[in-house]
């Protein structure tokens, strides 16, 4: 057993994979000598040397492109994007190159690449450094996308991502890097990506969450536990998300709430709702509900940013409304 912060769990996953497989390498801005801006690559340079652990220039296109090329050549590079927004200058390499190379070469090449990026609001980094941006990636056949919800989750997800033969983007909730958890890394069998994790079991309502919203959902579930036993699923992998587990849960609970850290319009929660409605229509007793952020850029002020994020209190209210009345409340931010 070990008590690890999420950044340490990530570092441990990297080190474990690097020990097991000499083709695993790490590159990114300040990941080597400094051990990463979020200290998620600390000690790797010392153990694995400057060939396999590389500091790069501020050149996201070159970082990702080089990772794509190295992966196609048979390495297993793990590239760090310090903040997910930086994908905006280099998205091409992930979704237009990496995700399509296997297809375009009819399977001659595969791209066992991992892109790690920190995501999310709550730390006061402002509108250009606080989003989650799964939506840039989801409509991309050929890609996988995961987002862990804490230390053991991050450890498991990252090892699975590195072993995956296809390109995987791992979106790490920045606000969780310094959260601690006690777990035994040796116990964490890297399960293949694409399976949801049941956080708590219940039959009143299915709550689906991802990343740092899993904690928010868990707090809300705890708050309403006496009245409404929540079946809480942590998707962990968002592309492809675990349709089977969600549908099975809804078949038992007949109700669905998705908690999403994104503006309301065009978020991934809609994909969950739409699929469940299409394939699980008869299971549903009430309209599915999304709890999201409002349709605004992430505000800087601490007061506004707190308000911006879904809160456990509001999620609890929505659970209560949906279970008691069969109808959720209008989101706090909405004008009709």
């Amino acid at each position: 057993m070990a008590v690890l912060r999420m950044n340490q769990a990530i570092c441990r996953a990297l080190a474990d994979e690097m020990r097991a497989d000499p083709s695993v390498m790490v590159l990114g801005e300040d990941v080597a000598a400094a051990g990463g801006v979020f200290k998620a690559t600390e000690g790797l340079l010392e153990e694995f040397g400057p060939m396999r652990v590389r500091d790069t220039p501020i050149s996201e296109t070159a970082i990702l492109g080089a990772a794509v090329g190295a992966a196609m050549a048979g390495m297993r590079p793990v590239a760090e994007m310090m903040f997910v927004e930086f994908l905006g200058v280099a998205l091409d390499q992930v979704v237009t190159q990496a995700a399509k190379m296997c297809y375009l070469s009819a399977g001659q090449f595969s791209v066992p690449l991992v892109v790690r990026a920190s995501v999310g609001a709550g730390l006061g980094f402002g509108a250009q450094h606080s989003q989650t941006l799964e939506t840039w990636l989801l409509n991309t056949p050929g890609l996988r996308v995961a987002s862990p919800s804490g230390p053991s989750s991050a450890y498991r997800v990252l090892r699975a991502a590195i072993r995956d033969p296809d390109p995987v983007v791992v979106l790490e909730p920045r606000a969780l890097y310094f959260i601690r958890e006690e777990f035994d890394p040796a116990d964490q069998v890297p399960s293949p990506l694409g399976m949801a994790r049941r956080v708590r079991e219940g039959d009143a309502v299915t709550v689906v969450a991802l990343g740092q919203m899993v904690r928010v959902a868990a707090q809300a579930a705890e708050a309403v536990a006496k009245t409404w036993p929540v079946d809480l699923l942590d998707l962990e992998t968002i592309l492809p998300w675990d349709r089977r587990s969600v549908l099975e849960s809804v078949a038992r609970t007949h109700r669905l709430i998705v908690i999403e850290e994104n503006p309301y319009t065009g978020g991934w929660g809609a994909d969950v709702v739409a699929h469940v409605v299409e394939r699980g229509w008869d299971s549903l007793d009430a309209p599915p509900v999304r709890v999201t952020c409002p349709d605004v850029p992430v505000p800087f002020s601490a007061a506004l940013e707190r308000r911006y994020l879904p809160s456990p209190e509001f999620v609890a209210k929505q659970i209560d409304a949906l279970c008691a009345e069969g109808r959720a409340l209008t989101p706090w931010w909405a004008e009709e």
């Binding site: 220039p57 605004v296 506004l304």
Partner: protein
């Protein structure tokens, strides 16, 4: 000479004409504000992150003194000094850094996103290099409309390796845009020294690849920087094309937040501190006892800044509704569910 209740535009005008007293005064103001920002951050009173600029004050003050409020300046997350230099009052700067309504954007932006259109300070950006093509566009507007504004695009040494730099400089060179690119080469991008990230030792040398003059300047000397700017601004104003100026400078502090900057080469900090831009100007003005001169000015700014800090601490935070303003310039709010 510089009163603390000068208007923002007066604060800007004071720097024009090259008065070294005014420059020194502003540089000390910046130094003192940045020191407060660091303390406030450590005290947990500033959310997120801060990037301060102690040691680099000569560059922004020289640029502010060689441009007009109708010119357009685009810079980065390391923008506090730029905002003050261009004329923004300390309350508006610190107010924004602390997320108050008194801030220049009322707490929506934060430390990395300062702006004041009336001073020509465009929103500072937090994506490395993104301001460079935007600056080319500001200059493109001037060229297309035929106005005489000059655009200044500020960036760091690390930004010289990102694609946006290349594309923006090629476009500016090709179209002879009225823009001055000012690289604050402080030797480090975050924790990485330039020689570990950049295949050439001098950023200015890359200008040749874009058909524009490249000038390396001692960024610690406000007069040298001023001279280089005057020439480049003239060139741009006369519509003779862009210039790349590389200001060799150094930050005396870490990259951001509480970075202890352990990555410095031995002796490097000391060598650069010996060339503190504040002290170099003071020595120019009062060769016999520059430190006394600095102490005098510092005392004044410390008194002022203490008041600013208290005022901002007491200032109101934004209210919920503020977050829904300004998402769109036109049309209904973005919180309508329909």
């Amino acid at each position: 000479m510089i009163t603390t209740d000068a208007t923002p535009v007066e604060r800007r005008t004071a720097l024009q004409g090259g008065n070294l007293h005014a420059a020194l005064d502003r540089m000390v103001e910046i130094r003192v504000l940045e020191e407060h920002v660091q303390q406030l951050f450590l005290q947990g009173l500033i959310p997120g992150t801060t990037h301060t600029c102690q040691g680099q004050e000569g560059v922004c003050v020289a640029v502010a003194g060689t441009t007009r409020t109708t010119d357009q300046v685009l810079c980065t997350y390391r923008g506090h000094g730029w905002a003050l230099a261009l004329g923004m009052p300390a309350t508006a700067v610190l107010g924004e850094i602390m997320g108050r309504r008194a801030g220049c954007t009322g707490g929506l932006g934060g430390s990395m996103h300062l702006s004041d259109r009336a001073l020509g300070l465009w929103p500072t950006v937090a994506i490395v290099g993104a301001q460079l093509p935007i600056a080319a566009g500001a200059a493109l507007a001037s060229q297309t409309r035929g106005d005489d504004a000059v655009t200044v695009a500020v960036f760091g040494d690390g930004a010289a390796n990102i694609g946006a730099f290349h594309e923006a400089l090629n476009l500016a060179g090709l179209w002879a845009l009225p823009v001055v690119f000012v690289c604050e080469n402080n030797l480090y991008a975050e924790y990485s020294r330039i020689d570990g990230t950049t295949a050439v030792p001098e950023i200015a040398s890359r200008a040749a690849g874009y058909g524009m003059p490249g000038v390396a300047v001692d960024g610690q000397r406000v007069d040298a920087m001023r001279a280089a700017m005057l020439e480049a601004v003239d060139r741009a104003r006369a519509r003779r094309g862009p210039t790349l100026i590389e200001a060799k400078t150094y930050r005396f502090v870490g990259h951001s937040r509480s970075d202890p900057a352990k990555y410095r080469l031995p002796g490097e900090l000391e060598a650069w501190k010996a060339r503190d831009p504040v002290r170099l100007v003071a020595a120019e003005l009062r060769p016999n006892d520059p430190d006394v001169l600095i102490a005098e000015i510092r005392a004044r700014w410390e008194a002022t800044m203490a008041l600013v800090v208290e005022a901002v601490k007491a200032a109101p935070e934004p209210v919920e509704q503020d977050m829904f303003q300004h998402v769109y310039a036109g049309g209904r709010g973005s919180n309508v569910l329909g």
